[in-house]
Symmetry: C2
Subunit: 362 residues, 2 copies
């Protein structure tokens, strides 16, 4: 199933031509590039079409790469592209101003990725699932107590609970013991209805409070696990001829705008060796992406966390350029967050190192 060298060159030329122009490419135009007559090209293209690498929109149009054609191109044919000085400089400059809050950083990285690639982009950092390390209950008055939960990631969450009936100190103590016994060390997915039920049964006369505190716990854990995600440049889709149809564009933009759908799309196993994953058209799981491609890169976000940046576009995407840019940005983020070493081109002026800004109420 190996292609002749010339077939490879032709396929490459078709893919790159189509990426550049969004028009089916014809034999005549290729003849110059390949260096043989258009008739020869036609023969070769005809074979590539029966092999499934090319497609014809209609009888008398040029050829367009099929998903399989793109796949072959991405896996074997495309050349790694280099970024220009200006591009690396722009990325470095943006990354140099790191933001203290992960949410804002993700938003900025999304913006950066989108503006560098000219496609809609997203950035997210996966947080590992957290559990509660310990609960403390503070008895305020007979109608009021505070729950304090210390999470495994050392975040502290609290909630003031005001009751329409009264409780005693001992009841709160019981509650505390119950929660520390049943609800610590478990992630939000592991908290099942049955655990809540059995805790309620064990709670005696405070069973009514179990649901309240349990739902607070769930909320905290879910919130702590939610990956911060930055999405940017969705409207850039409209620049692409394949999304000139407002309905198509709308459908995909809706999909993109919903961060949770993107998170579902993350690779379960891992990425390619180079840290880049390309998913082409029908390879995508989500129905909304069947006509689009996604290029994704992962980075090391420190503390054992992994992050992802990605770009959504037509199958006719500039895979090579996008992959190069994502690689570079991802590498920069890894350095920034995991602190492997100082980014190559970063502008280290007077301030050589800076702590994170901490915010707290005074």
């Amino acid at each position: 199933m190996d292609l002749s060298d010339r077939k490879k060159r032709i396929l490459t030329a078709v893919v790159e031509g189509y990426i550049a122009t969004a028009e089916p490419v014809g034999s005549k135009h290729l003849a110059e590039q390949i260096g043989c007559s258009s008739a020869t090209i036609r023969n070769e293209m005809s074979e590539l079409t029966t092999m499934g690498y090319l497609e014809q929109p209609h009888t008398s149009a040029g050829r367009v790469p099929s998903p399989a054609g793109y796949r072959l191109y991405v896996n074997e044919l495309m050349e790694k592209q280099k970024l220009t000085e200006a591009e690396t400089a722009a990325i470095n400059e943006k990354l140099a101003r790191k933001d203290e809050q992960i949410e804002k950083l993700m938003a900025e990285v999304g913006q950066l990725t989108s503006s560098m690639t000219q496609y809609p982009a997203y950035a997210l950092t996966m947080k590992p699932p957290v559990a509660v390390k310990r609960f403390d209950f503070i008895y305020v008055d007979q109608n009021t107590f505070i729950v304090v939960a210390l999470l495994t990631d050392n975040m502290v969450k609290n909630k003031l609970i005001h009751l329409p009936f009264s409780v005693h100190q001992e009841q709160i103590t019981t509650l505390s013991a119950l929660f520390n016994a049943n609800f610590t060390g478990v992630t939000d997915r592991e908290i099942t209805e049955s655990i809540i039920r059995s805790t309620e049964r064990a709670a005696g006369d405070t069973y009514g409070l179990v649901a309240v505190v349990a739902s607070f716990t769930m909320e905290c854990l879910a919130a702590a696990r939610t990956a911060p995600v930055g999405i940017a440049g969705a409207s850039r889709l409209l620049n692409q001829p394949e999304y000139r149809d407002p309905d198509k564009a709308h459908a995909l933009m809706n999909f993109i705008a919903d961060g949770s759908r993107l998170v579902d799309d993350l690779p379960p196993a891992g990425m390619g060796a180079d840290g880049i994953r390309v998913t082409i058209g029908p390879e995508n799981l989500a129905e909304e992406l069947k006509d689009s491609s996604v290029v994704m890169a992962s980075y090391d976000a420190g503390d054992g966390m992994r992050g992802y940046i990605g770009v959504v576009g037509p199958t006719r995407m500039d895979y090579s350029g996008v992959a190069a840019k994502l690689s570079y940005i991802a590498a920069g983020l890894s350095r920034l967050l995991a602190g492997t070493d100082a980014p190559a081109g970063l502008d280290n002026k007077l301030v050589l190192k800076e702590s994170e800004h901490h915010e707290q109420e005074g």
Copy 2:
């Protein structure tokens, strides 16, 4: 300049007809509604056109409201619309789950507003400008010190500064005195180049550090003043026939996506008596909005802060419905944030009152 009753009815019918169908409305169709012949309507419409309330796309089309026509409609003709049970219920349910973080709350309110109105929407809360209350400088070692700034809103910001040369304890003390003298009590807009220059002159042998600390200060103040803004549903524009042209849609979506542009659009003086402001087509300052309308409502965000929710759409916008929905949501937000009283339909289960969740690193 008062219109006859019949003219008002005709104008209203034209505006509402055009809002509903996006097609110019003709005399024939109106004749049924108004109850007189189409010829009469034509005469009246002709007058309304010379008065500037209606426009003709071309000689043989129906009439379309002019901006002045919309304005008159919004100010005097349109009836306050009531929300349906389902709508109020949906809003109440969404608002019941208030988020602890203002950024997330704004994002959610933006979503809510957009989904209720079917237009792109934004939500933001203005923070009052802050200043630094006091600076503290902590000398770590001869190459390192920490700046700590306590802001007027009681936030604390800090930065570890690592130097490529060495400083003495006394120099840091001098610096501290200088900054506490010159950079406290001023907002970021009041920090001018000349203040920085004169401080540098006064700084003696530590003049090199002034710029670093000053820029840190500016950063903190700017960050603290930045209004959290939630933008949602930009792609809904594509549902509107006037934005089927991808280029138009793109231009406006870009504008919307840039939150800072929206903030610029806020009313300097205040809103109408009902807390609603409608800006129609050319009334908008921003060039990108000249063909669009903005409906905005303000709410009380507590602590003397004001917030705004708004919707962007074609001039042919459902002003009445949108205004009603924004009013309702804004009122709900005022109650929620300023705590005037419990929202009418809110579901107050067991938990009657809850504190805000505080997050801090442990």
